[in-house]
């Protein structure tokens, strides 16, 4: 399969990429790792007149901790995220999710920024971005803008990224010390995308009750969402199996759960509860529940 012909230009800075996007007037797309865009172009589902290659911009690469946030440059690959010492130390749930994207070859090319800007409704990273209260740092003709992850994902393949904007980096909030986390995914057997994927971050306080809970779900709805109903049940409760199960029962409450050819709405609702319970149990250091749970 061959993409439709397009013009190609390499940007030498983010500012130049913004200019080139503007000059193309909406007919251009940015090319980073190309692992979301090129498959669509090969299927001719996307046919931009021009690709602006930003993949050589070193200013968009790298991982760092600044204050209470961990920054990941947009061009950082999934493999780099999954293996980076700072990510493994501070945000193991991010490394855990990145290691489940696609396969090793895909993780060698696919980038964090490309993944989030593409906004596939079944992608793994958006769940982690929501659970870690990520901010997306964008450069556009209007200047620098920051979007909360919760305001960024608007629908399948639709984001709040402004026209002619370049996603520079994403930063994740470091959870309170002592918090534990888990990304639990039920992958589609052929594509590997999440039929349902759940990211959970839980901190238990000195009194033995949950003091901090962030839960987010991908794959189940037309857009990934924060499962606030789950969080509300957990807060102030001891992390006992029955509490976690009761909380997980609300995992579908905050999303517009959708059925498709792969999984019915009812099945996805069921999976939301099962995968959320698994994520919560692992985040709370409990063994997996018996089969059927």
């Amino acid at each position: 399969m061959i993409p439709k012909a397009f013009a190609y230009e390499r940007a030498h800075s983010v500012a130049e990429a913004v200019d080139l996007l503007q000059q193309a007037g909406g007919a251009a797309k940015l090319l980073a790792g190309g692992h979301s865009l090129l498959p669509l172009m090969k299927l001719r589902l996307s046919a931009p007149a021009k690709l602006i290659d930003i993949s050589r911009l070193d200013e968009l690469r790298g991982v760092s901790v600044v204050g209470e946030r961990l920054f990941v440059g947009a061009l950082t690959t999934h493999h780099q995220v999954a293996t980076h010492p700072l990510v493994c130390q501070h945000l193991p749930v991010l490394a855990e999710a990145a290691a489940q994207i696609g396969d090793p070859q895909v993780r060698n090319r696919g980038t964090v920024g490309g993944n989030l800007a593409h906004a596939d409704a079944a992608s793994d990273l958006p769940a982690v971005a929501l659970a870690l209260e990520a901010q997306l740092h964008v450069q556009s003709p209007a200047g620098d803008e920051v979007f909360a992850a919760e305001d960024f994902f608007l629908g399948p393949l639709v984001t709040a990224l402004p026209e002619y904007g370049v996603l520079r980096a994403v930063s994740f909030a470091l959870p309170p010390s002592g918090a534990r986390s888990c990304y639990s995914k039920f992958p589609h057997p052929a594509s590997g995308y999440a039929v349902v994927g759940v990211a959970a971050v839980v901190a238990v306080g000195a009194r033995g009750t949950v003091e901090f809970a962030r839960v987010a779900v991908t794959g189940a709805a037309d857009v990934p969402y924060r499962a606030r109903a789950v969080e509300a049940v957990l807060l102030g409760q001891p992390p006992q199996p029955e509490v976690l199960r009761a909380a997980a029962g609300h995992a579908a409450d905050d999303g517009a759960i959708a059925g498709d050819a792969f999984a019915s709405e009812a099945y996805r609702r069921h999976l939301c509860a099962v995968m959320t319970e698994r994520a919560l149990r692992r985040a709370c250091g409990l063994a997996d529940a018996a089969a059927g749970a």
């Binding site: 397009f6 190309g34 090129l38 172009m41 690709l51 493999h79 396969d103 090793p104 070859q105 060698n108």
Partner: protein
Amino acid sequence: MEAGKVRVSLEVNGKAYTAEVEPRLLLVHLLRDQLGLTGTHIGCDTSQCGACTVLLDGQAVKSCTVLAVQADGGRVTTVEGLASPEGLHPVQIGFWEKHGLQCGFCTPGVIMTAVGLLQDNPRPTEEEIRTALEGVLCRCTGYQNIVRAVQYAASQMAEADERREVAAAETE
């Protein structure tokens, strides 16, 4: 240069190439159709099966999902670049010895994926080998002999390393 074409220079199996390509040309088509390196196969053409896997700057990538222009300035290794005048690459020997193939269609991609794994992780566990092979599909072998082939290659490469270390120690 023809309008709209882009000049790319890359090193393939140690040899420098320059070509003028349409931006939409895929790396796998550059390798197969322009450089005649047909050892890299096109299977699914949708970045799933991994038959087109090559090393780009030392990393296993699916060349059906990389534009030739993205590989500009890069270093590509295909299955043709593995053997040396001294003989086959240990991973190729492993596939031979352990019969890690049947029809052979996926084999170049599987071998390149395994070479990429052993570069990063010379002593992988069986589970690590199976995880590393997640991005290659084989419809013949059930993967059992592929895993054995990679294990064989890893042990042969480890023994060769030890022999080199002993020889280096003896010459000191």
